[in-house]
């Protein structure tokens, strides 16, 4: 949402993410069983949770991902490069799973979760994930090599993580899910933080064409006012001539997406996608935001170990 062109915190995040993944991996291999865990409820409804499964992938992509912050652009070649080490691991209903643009958010965009119930056509999970990435105006200004008065002296914003209940519904060639998350924007250096609700839904429809997988997606996300105000509101201590006091409103984001994947070999695949995001018009009233429509492109390869 507020992706920075360069994010030096990625290394730290990958480190934390790797530690979590390795710990999970060790725990899982110690007790691994090849069979799926099958339980029986009182109604004799079988519940089959994920057994021990893992997948380790390397993601290399070129990404054009504009930022909604005023006058901020991707400036250097590295801004367009996305590298990610991706883990998908599950064990006895617990999972650590890649779900989105991996290297852009805390924990590489991974979701740590537990399957509460798994049914034929639907399931209910509790998940922990980062929903909004933060930004540091000083880093952005260093990178941009130009003066952006709206960002000079602005406090940094930390990431928002949340614990969510996720309902997933499975169709023949489609998936719909909705997260209802209680989210918290971490405290920044000035002691500001925020809590609020995020409701995030997504529908993905698969069109198989020969060896291609083509996914058409649509999403709708709601961000509560307190969270939006943390990110794009202007506090009294941040007011300047270029940056008037501002209280942000709750925001909706609608997304349309096309994603395609093609196997190049038994280990490599080609991936490409485009996402169009539309945020509520009201966000442009913030002095640090100058766009509410973002077109993001990705072309890359994925190596599966």
């Amino acid at each position: 949402m507020f992706t920075k062109p360069i994010n030096p915190n990625i290394i730290n995040r990958l480190f934390i993410y790797s530690i979590v993944a390795i710990a999970f991996f060790i725990a899982a291999t110690t007790h691994a069983s090849p069979e799926e865990q099958s339980l029986t409820t009182h109604g004799n409804t079988p519940i089959t949770k994920d057994a021990f499964e893992w997948q380790f992938m390397l993601d290399m992509a070129l990404v054009n991902s504009p930022v909604m912050l005023t006058d901020v652009e991707q400036t250097e070649l590295w801004d367009y490069v996305q590298l990610g080490l991706l883990f998908d691991i599950s064990y006895k209903g617990f999972f650590l799973r890649t779900n989105s643009r991996r290297s852009s958010t805390i924990l590489g965009g991974e979701e740590l979760g537990y399957q509460i119930t798994v049914q034929k056509d639907w399931q209910l999970d509790v998940i922990l994930k980062a929903y909004i990435e933060g930004f540091d105006p000083i880093e952005i200004l260093d990178d941009q090599n130009k003066d952006i008065p709206e960002l000079v002296g602005l406090n940094n914003r930390e990431y928002t993580s949340g614990i969510a209940l996720r309902y997933s519904r499975y169709f023949e060639n489609a998936i719909f899910y909705i997260d209802i998350a209680s989210a918290r924007a971490s405290e920044n250096e000035q002691g500001h933080s925020a809590t609020g609700i995020i409701i995030d839904s997504f529908y993905s429809y698969l069109i198989p064409y020969r060896n291609w997988d083509i996914y058409l997606g649509a999403g709708l996300t709601y961000y509560e006012k307190a969270l939006m105000d943390y990110y794009i509101g202007i506090n009294a201590d941040e007011v300047s001539s270029a940056r008037p006091f501002h209280i942000a409103d709750s925001t909706f984001r609608a997304q349309l997406e096309v994603y395609a994947q093609y196997p190049l070999s038994q280990s490599w695949s080609f991936n490409a996608g485009i996402t169009q995001s539309f945020y509520s018009n009201s966000i442009k009233r913030s002095p640090i935001i100058d766009k509410n429509k973002l077109t993001q492109l990705m072309v890359g390869v994925l190596y599966v170990f």
Binding site: D50, E53, S204, P263, S265, Q266, S267, S277
Partner: protein, 142 residues
């Protein structure tokens, strides 16, 4: 769990077994009898997900010293009665064809004489995959 390592190991075992069964096997994994040179390329079809049909255009080529009517069959060895005739070359010393491959299982291509249905040569097209099939994978880019 189907890791690349296990898939690679399985493939290696298949190739080794093939080598043992057919001593006159060519270096590229093509089955060759003393009567005929037979090749099918590519010999592997890769799909994204386990269990999905894999699509490929297979170039079939054969050559032998004497003319005879030769027929091409495909066989799914998981299904005992799956032998299906695809085409025949009447009274020929050589033949070539592009065959549209569509299968989630390995398929064996066989060359047989039309006269007495004698097997002259066969080769197997291996279907492999990148990801184990799971309904829970979601792709959301941004």
């Amino acid at each position: 769990m189907y890791s690349s390592v296990s898939k690679g190991f399985a493939l290696l075992v298949l190739v080794l077994m093939n080598c043992i069964m057919f001593s006159a096997k060519a270096a590229n994994g093509i089955t060759v009898s003393t009567e005929i040179n037979f090749s099918a390329q590519p010999q592997q079809c890769v799909t994204l997900h386990q269990g999905r049909d894999c699509f490929a255009t297979i170039l079939i080529q054969w050559q032998r010293p004497t003319s005879q009517t030769i027929c091409l069959f495909h066989v799914n060895k998981k299904q005992a009665t799956s032998k299906k005739q695809l085409m025949c070359w009447p009274e020929s010393k050589a033949g070539q064809a592009n065959i549209e491959f569509e299968s989630s299982d390995n398929l064996t291509y066989q060359l047989r004489t039309q006269l007495d249905d004698r097997l002259l040569a066969e080769t197997e097209i291996i279907v492999s995959w990148l990801h184990k099939n799971t309904r829970r994978r979601r792709w959301r880019l941004f």
